[in-house]
Symmetry: C2
Subunit: 476 residues, 2 copies
């Protein structure tokens, strides 16, 4: 057994490449959401790992026969569910290279290129997003910095820890039980989970209610009032999570005024732009980040809408000393001259785990392969498709748009009929809604138009003939 | 811009495949540990992302020129540092496929195949490792289950949360400050970090001291005594981390007696076999896991020594209800019929983050492509090479073996000379030691012999002529 036989490696890689290309060329033939029933794969699968080797040909045959039917096709041009997880050639090649090298870049010495390329791409992105210089790694003396994490959850956990440790250092550990963190009722549920992980009591994750009349934005006045009441009740506010582009409606919280409120109470402000952050590389959308300079940290997922596949969450912090303090470890096992010189970044102290993949390589390949101009055009194309869809919806009085469309996602008030395309739902302001989210690499105008025709057709068959003057509230 | 143009996709994938093959064929020409100086990459890199597209040819040229010199070659056959991060053809192809599909398998519905294949490979591995049936997903009614996580750190955090929540549910949240967790002074530092993340006070991470005379194993008697004293001091023991194959010396903690002690105090016992777990697929090494049936959870990293590249930590738990309780989230965004039916596993409730890659696919491809017999032979080959190295060391009186060699790693008492190969060090029992860890896919006998010749040569040039009757203690 030679697990890296070059002849076999080459032959099998070429074979899998062709398999993946065929998959993309046939992707529209598959149902977007898998139609299998629970347990389908257990029936065709043996109970034990095989004793003897099986050929790549046999394995790929099973992938085609057993795996593909059980896949929900996130790369389908008819996938309008959740948020996109956009794949593309450059990112795929980046993954091939990083898996080929398979370095474990926990500190600088374990692979200097992995650390330094990460600093470089994070500086490139900082400039593309026009983030404040205070978030830059190159700002020297204390200052900030960027890091690639596995998920927004990890970004929440690491920044929550920093806020918690900073506060407890000042006021004493006996106050742990009273620490409180703030968000809106539109904040992603991962924030609640993250707060629980770091030991914030669930009842101390304080949710400001939003309303449809203010587009589901977090109100700075309501936040201030809530904090004042909480202080009287003995709570200690330490952290605010503001969102640019919420998951249900892509609401944009007003960063400037929120940071002003938070600064009165010396709170850490994290800006979660997981989905919408990518759009802000276009100058015309950058205003959604106005006020971010007042925040303590900012993150977005390049793996959602910036053509970089899972997992690639970009996080910047303003105060790297506070950020890395609770995450830093020292061990004789990791001791080395470069670390001791103080001249290098050891990213193990910027994340939860020790091991880390060479993620920067794929982001670097995406940014170079497409270039800024084409990436902006790519974002604009999706936004335009969602806007066109909005136009279609507006022409049909049976449907109502529940919240403004800023980016490439919009909402349809549901007729409780999901189409053969894949969309997901949410409940906002008590109303059950369909989310229509554009962003797959292969999506073109025709897919959007077909999706709308499907939704209209479902509505018609449910309601009978179109009733152009009635607006259903769908609150059944 | 068509980010998934099939013609370009195919052409560029073939080009990168050839690049990676060339890399492996040349890997022995590169210095194992990168020789660059801090900041080397900043000099050759532009300040901003490019505006216009660059060709794959130009990018690969830069990878060769700028990235490869900054890589520490974990796949080199002369890499004996840390623990292996073994790559191979099957796992590389698995990564290609899973990146090609790019599904985000947070729940069953988002891609049924991702969830069901994970259950299947975890059952296969459970059988290969002869883990108790109580860890099996198929044990029904309550029972256990397996999950693929990103790292041992994540396994620690998730199981610590379960132990914490379970205890606090019983005795009340006001006791959080007194919760204590146990390990040895040989336990990996990630455990301390994980305990800090979930809010265990650093002074309540209680370390039992080990000694060379007992091969750095965690003594059940010492543990029992420590817990008894801690109880008197008002601490509440909730969790024990036992290790099979510690990082410094591959010490094996006695699982059976440790679980007996822990059960007296109703503690969660986690067995961390990050490195050595893979060896236990060989019947002759399985005895190192004896007693695991008394544990609450068990994890090992397939990405270390089971030919599956980063990141792939396999975790099993006995009580999945307690395990998933603190990690479960409900949200209208994720609501779906399959989840409500109770017939499916939603892996988002078995890990920290929401997003997850289709990791099972690469593990499945490794297990099928090589088959059990060849995987065992692969492990045995490395163990034999380490044993041969031990033989060489034993013949040179200037060196002393600091701890027994069980697997494929052993220790040399240092002469403070590191070779041109890459080994790392540790400090055990107050002695500075070199770790010699075998496990790269490409390593053959000749690499091990050359490594030894290098170490001997360095020793000779440092000490003058060989002094066969003297044993240096190296405690300078």
């Amino acid at each position: 057994m030679n697990p890296l036989n070059p002849i076999e490696f080459r032959r099998q890689c070429h074979m899998v490449t062709d398999f993946v290309v065929d998959y993309y060329q046939n992707i529209e033939k598959y149902p977007v959401r898998s139609q299998v029933k629970p347990g389908y794969l257990f029936q065709s699968s043996p109970d034990c790992a095989p004793m003897y080797p099986e050929s790549i040909e046999a394995i790929l045959k099973d992938v085609q026969k057993d795996i593909i039917p059980g896949i929900t096709h996130w790369q389908s041009p008819n996938f309008f569910a959740y948020f996109p997880a956009s794949l593309n050639t450059a990112s795929f090649l980046g993954e091939m290279l990083l898996n080929g090298f398979s370095v474990v870049g926990f500190n600088w010495e374990s692979s200097p290129a992995a650390t330094e390329l990460e600093i470089i791409v994070m500086e490139w992105l900082l400039k593309l997003l026009q983030l404040p210089q205070s978030f830059s790694t190159s700002s020297n003396q204390g200052g900030g910095g960027g890091v690639l994490l596995g998920s927004t959850c990890e970004a929440f956990i690491c920044t929550l820890l920093a806020a918690k440790e900073k506060t407890l250092d000042q006021i004493g550990r006996e106050n742990t039980e009273n620490l409180a963190v703030y968000c809106s009722d539109q904040t992603h549920f991962s924030f609640h989970k993250s707060a629980k992980v770091v030991g914030i009591k669930p009842e101390n994750v304080r949710q400001v209610l939003t309303t449809r009349s203010t587009n589901f934005e977090l109100s700075p006045e309501s936040l201030d009032e809530m904090i004042k009441r909480d202080l009287e009740d003995g709570l200690i506010p330490i952290y605010l999570c503001a969102t640019v582009g919420t998951t249900s409606t892509t609401a944009v919280d007003p960063l400037g005024p929120l940071c002003e409120v938070a600064s009165k109470y010396n709170m850490w402000v994290h800006v979660d732009a997981a989905y919408a952050g990518s759009a802000c590389i276009c100058p015309e959308f950058r205003h959604f980040l106005d006020g971010v300079e007042g925040a303590s940290s900012f993150s977005f997922n390049a793996h959602k809408w910036l053509l970089t596949n899972l997992a690639c969450c970009c996080l910047w912090v303003k105060d790297k000393a506070s950020f890395t303090k609770p995450l830093s470890t020292t061990s004789e096992l990791m001791a080395n001259e470069s670390t001791e010189s103080g001249k290098v970044v050891d990213y193990k102290d910027w994340q939860i785990s020790l091991a880390r993949r060479f993620q920067a390589l794929k982001l670097w390949m995406v940014l170079r392969s497409y270039g800024t101009i084409a990436l902006r055009e790519y974002i604009r194309k999706h936004v335009k498709m969602a806007k066109d869809f909005e136009g279609l919806v507006n022409m049909d009085a049976r449907f109502e748009i529940m919240a403004p469309r800023y980016f490439s996602m919009m909402l349809l008030e549901s007729v409780n009929a999901t189409g053969r395309v894949y969309m997901t739902h949410s409940v906002v302001g008590g109303v059950y809604v369909i989310r229509f989210s554009v962003g797959a690499s292969l999506t073109e105008d025709r897919h959007v138009n077909m999706a709308w025709e499907l939704v209209q057709g479902e509505a018609t068959s449910l309601l009978g003939e179109p009733r152009p003057e009635t607006t259903s509230n769908g609150e059944d």
